[in-house]
């Protein structure tokens, strides 16, 4: 639809031969609105439009495409490039066992995604172990335990244990018993502004020394996505994102915000409640979804 809008906007410059600051002004405004409606953060939109302006101005329009087509291509290509590579694999380098930590806001999909990752890795011939360190949420351990049995993956936790740190330390022993080579740690949801709980996560990370710290971000997240990603990355250190609940109709602008503010890659997309609903991140698909 943006493309049709651009066709109309650029009809008048068809004869002019190239894109100028003046003739792309309105089109840039339309892109701005589209991105903001898609939940891309205000500041990220501002920077993005600057980049598009740089790329667009002075571009000669060939006779083979319309100026509208050229402009949308510039926007689409820039967005795709900023969203990152479609091939950011899990870092499972070095000798096993490889610990993975799942962190994120309350309800963002950590526990379910832990199960999805375990199934994904089991299908690839790995021997994952699912570990719950959520000592706070009612029936959190039960939830991951049930998920583990659904996908035939061993589960470890300590019902009644109040301290997530001791679960982290005991998990390694259990992993040896079960010959597990990937340890997937689920953590309790927390706010990115809760100093005590962020500190708890720092301690957990020290005890686990993970090769991946994955932040689950709800695909419906709005402007706040930038603050969330920035805070977790600065305080804990994030190695990648998993954008969840993308099977809805949210445009997913949060994807650009989190990538832009941290530079860290989006590694997977959650596309459903079932445990096989985990997909590789495709920047072109997310780009066209964001542009609407």
């Amino acid at each position: 639809r943006l493309q049709e809008r651009f066709e109309t906007l650029f009809k008048k410059i068809k004869g002019q031969g190239k894109l100028t600051e003046e003739n792309i002004k309105e089109a840039l405004r339309d892109v701005r609105i589209a991105l903001l409606e898609a939940d891309v953060n205000y500041k990220v939109v501002k920077d993005f439009l600057e980049k598009v302006k740089e790329k667009a101005i002075g571009q000669g329009v060939l006779t083979s495409i319309t100026p509208g087509q050229l402009f949308i291509k510039i926007v689409y290509d820039e967005l795709t490039q900023l969203l990152g590579s479609s091939h950011s694999p899990l870092n499972l380098g070095g000798p096993p066992p490889h610990p993975i930590m799942l962190i994120g806001l309350q309800g963002s999909g950590k526990t379910t995604t832990a199960g999805k990752l375990a199934l994904f890795l089991r299908k690839k011939g790995k021997r994952p172990l699912l570990i719950s360190t959520d000592t706070r949420r009612p029936a959190a351990m039960e939830q991951l335990k049930k998920i583990s049995s659904q996908i035939d993956v061993p589960f470890f936790s300590f019902e009644g244990q109040k301290d997530p740190l001791s679960i982290c330390k005991d998990a390694r022993q259990y992993a040896i018993k079960t010959y597990s080579d990937v340890l997937i740690f689920d953590t309790a949801g927390r706010l990115h502004i809760d100093e005590d709980l962020l500190e708890e996560l720092v301690e957990q990370k020290k005890a686990i020394s993970p090769c991946e710290v994955l932040l689950t971000v709800d695909g419906m997240t709005g402007q706040d996505a930038l603050n969330i990603a920035k805070a977790f990355d600065e305080k804990i250190g994030v190695t990648g994102f998993i954008l969840t609940k993308m099977d809805g109709d949210a445009r997913g602008g949060a994807a650009l915000s989190i990538k832009a503010v941290t530079g860290k890659p989006i590694k997977f997309i959650g596309t459903g409640e079932k445990l096989d609903c985990l997909e590789q991140f495709h920047p072109e698909r997310i780009a066209s979804r964001i542009l609407g």
Partner: protein
């Protein structure tokens, strides 16, 4: 009339930015800034400090019309059906509302109608146990409408004042899940004659513009009678309730500000508009 005085284009742009950053959406933010301009031209803004105050009043006025608390009366058992997309805080909010009503002297019964998600029934059961409240539940995988039916039957038999039904998270785009909710509603209507007396849609303050689509789809399919906004203890402002209030006029019953049972507050237009511009 020429714009003179403290309100300049820069200030207006900053205000628009703040509103957009609060998830009010581009359309609403632009329109609110236009209203400020009008107020300025009319001379209602003499002092730069007035800008925030006038904006708060404009926003407060929009929200005042949806500040209508939930009144538990007229029906027994008063049946509250909760719904919302995945992970917004339905189960926790069900427990919080239960606690508030119990503190109010009401006898509450929970219905564990999320028969789908792993350990959903256990999660609500634990809350019920902490509150000393009754709960009706079936096995995982059973029909949620059957649980609703049993909960209402049990409530009538045990002299319960309020039944609160927790349901599975569902994206508004999944037609089979919308149909499931319609069926639950039909069963409740048949069993109570007048229910559900409140169809409460729960929204997550960290969501962006998709919240508007959630309200639209759920309201069109199921007729929502109340809203609750969760996770306002984070940094997200939940500004989408401005366009939501203008478009759908659904009363906002509660806001939630944390994970504990006491983190439930009745919605206040004045408090919300103040917090929005902080």
């Amino acid at each position: 009339a020429a714009l003179k005085g403290p309100l300049d284009e820069n200030t207006l742009r900053e205000i628009e930015e703040a509103l957009i950053l609060s998830d009010c959406g581009v359309e609403t933010s632009t329109r609110l800034v236009e209203k400020l301009k009008e107020a300025w031209k009319k001379g209602h803004l003499k002092d730069p400090k007035d800008v925030k105050k006038v904006l708060r009043e404009i926003i407060g006025e929009i929200l005042k019309s949806v500040e209508r608390p939930l009144r538990i009366d007229n029906y027994r058992p008063f049946t509250i059906l909760t719904l919302g997309v995945n992970g917004v805080g339905k189960t926790t909010t069900v427990a919080k509302i239960g606690k508030a009503l119990i503190s109010d002297g009401k006898k509450v019964l929970f219905g564990a109608c999320d028969t789908f998600r792993a350990a959903a029934i256990e999660q609500l059961s634990e809350w019920a146990e902490r509150l000393g409240a009754e709960i009706v539940k079936h096995k995982e995988g059973s029909d949620p409408a059957a649980v609703a039916y049993d909960a209402i039957k049990a409530a009538s038999a045990r002299n319960v004042d309020v039944v609160i039904l927790d349901t599975a998270g569902r994206l508004h785009t999944k037609s089979n899940l919308i149909e499931e909710m319609k069926k639950i509603k039909r069963v409740i209507a048949r069993e109570t004659g007048s229910g559900p007396h409140e169809t409460l849609l729960i929204l997550d303050a960290t969501n962006g513009q998709n919240a508007i689509q959630q309200v639209k789809s759920f309201h069109e399919a199921l007729t929502v009678s109340g809203l609750a906004i969760t996770k306002l203890d984070g940094t997200a402002k939940g500004g989408f309730i401005l366009p939501v209030s203008e478009l759908f006029k659904i009363p906002i019953r509660y806001i939630c500000v944390g994970e504990k049972l006491e983190d439930l507050l009745p919605f206040s237009a004045e408090e919300f508009s103040k917090a929005l511009l902080e």
